[in-house]
Symmetry: C2
Subunit: 167 residues, 2 copies
DNA sequence: GCCATATAGTTAGGCGGCTAATTAATTATA
DNA sequence: TATAATTAATTAGCCGCCTAACTATATGGC
């Protein structure tokens, strides 16, 4: 994420453009602004979840479990879908177990493995958060007409594809 | 950051829309995609910096120092501009001191305080990274015509303003 | 001049990431 | 069948972020 609060002003941009010839002020400004706004949106979501005593990592685990027909999954599946390492998922699951939002049940077929199931308390937590979350997302996104949203996303996808320039 | 890799598909969206009436699939999809792409852009930048032995926090400290005419600032100023706590800035500065990229000099007027200065080695590091960074940013952003970039940013700013819905 | 308050920086402790190493069980193969 | 390779999860140790508590110094009434 882009923590940087103090984005470069015209004077700073000139100074850097002088020393580094290939620098294009407009590109840099656009890029930093996009990163900054992404960060701010994510931070808003984090603050919202914090009000419900959740953090992003744990929230996604609960949602991933609720997606399953039997409300059940394995640590490694969860790690992959959530986009974190298995080590991190171990930690997240421990926290959720402590809070009773998920439960653990041994797998009889493979004794290395076990399943994680969303408990009633976990479902209750989602039933508290989601009806608060969805209307807010709807309200926020409705600030932009659907067609323009689609355009916005199309441009962002283009940028994402271009991000291979950093490889 | 949105770590989540496994964005909801149509089936999952239907399931959640059934349980939570106020859920608008399109809004949610758009929102998650925007967060996801922001995260991916930031991750690309991180990987790039890592190739130069830097992480975002330290990189920004060096840049903030180079912006100053005397290449000098204080820990609290740096913390504020970088958007991290003073405690975090203490840690970042320690790392940079260890690597010799910045130096510390006492302030005679206020003995609680001291200044941090970009060293020649720190400037060398920036002179290595920035001429590699700027052309890449330029190349990436040029994938989108300037007018569309401006539109993109305008929409994002609108969204950011709306993110107060989460308060 | 003295005490209360404010400010600069650090330290301690927690959290959520990571990688690498470890343990245990399963699967493949010589 | 014994052993090698693979896989699932955990642990250990690192990092960067946070808040809260602490130390040291400055400042502003009384």
């Amino acid at each position: 994420m882009l923590q940087l609060k103090d984005l470069p002003d015209a004077k700073v941009l000139r100074k850097f453009a002088e020393r580094y010839e290939d620098m294009d002020s407009r590109s840099v400004t656009h890029f930093l602004n996009i990163l900054r706004i992404g960060t701010e949106l994510a931070e808003s979501l984090d603050r919202f979840l914090a009000k419900h005593g959740l953090l992003q990592g744990r929230w996604w685990v609960l949602i991933l479990l609720m997606r399953e027909d039997d409300l059940t999954s394995t640590p490694s599946e969860l790690a992959e879908k959530a986009g974190v390492s298995r080590a991190t998922m171990s930690g997240l699951i421990n926290g959720l177990l402590r809070d009773g939002l998920v439960a653990r049940q041994e797998d009889n077929e493979d004794r290395r493995s076990y399943s994680i199931r969303l408990t009633a308390a976990g479902q209750d937590k989602l039933d508290e958060v989601m009806p608060d979350y969805y209307p807010r997302v709807k309200k926020m996104m409705n600030a932009i007409p659907v067609q323009q949203r689609e355009d916005l996303l199309k441009q962002l996808i283009l940028l994402k594809e271009q991000s291979k320039v950093f490889d």
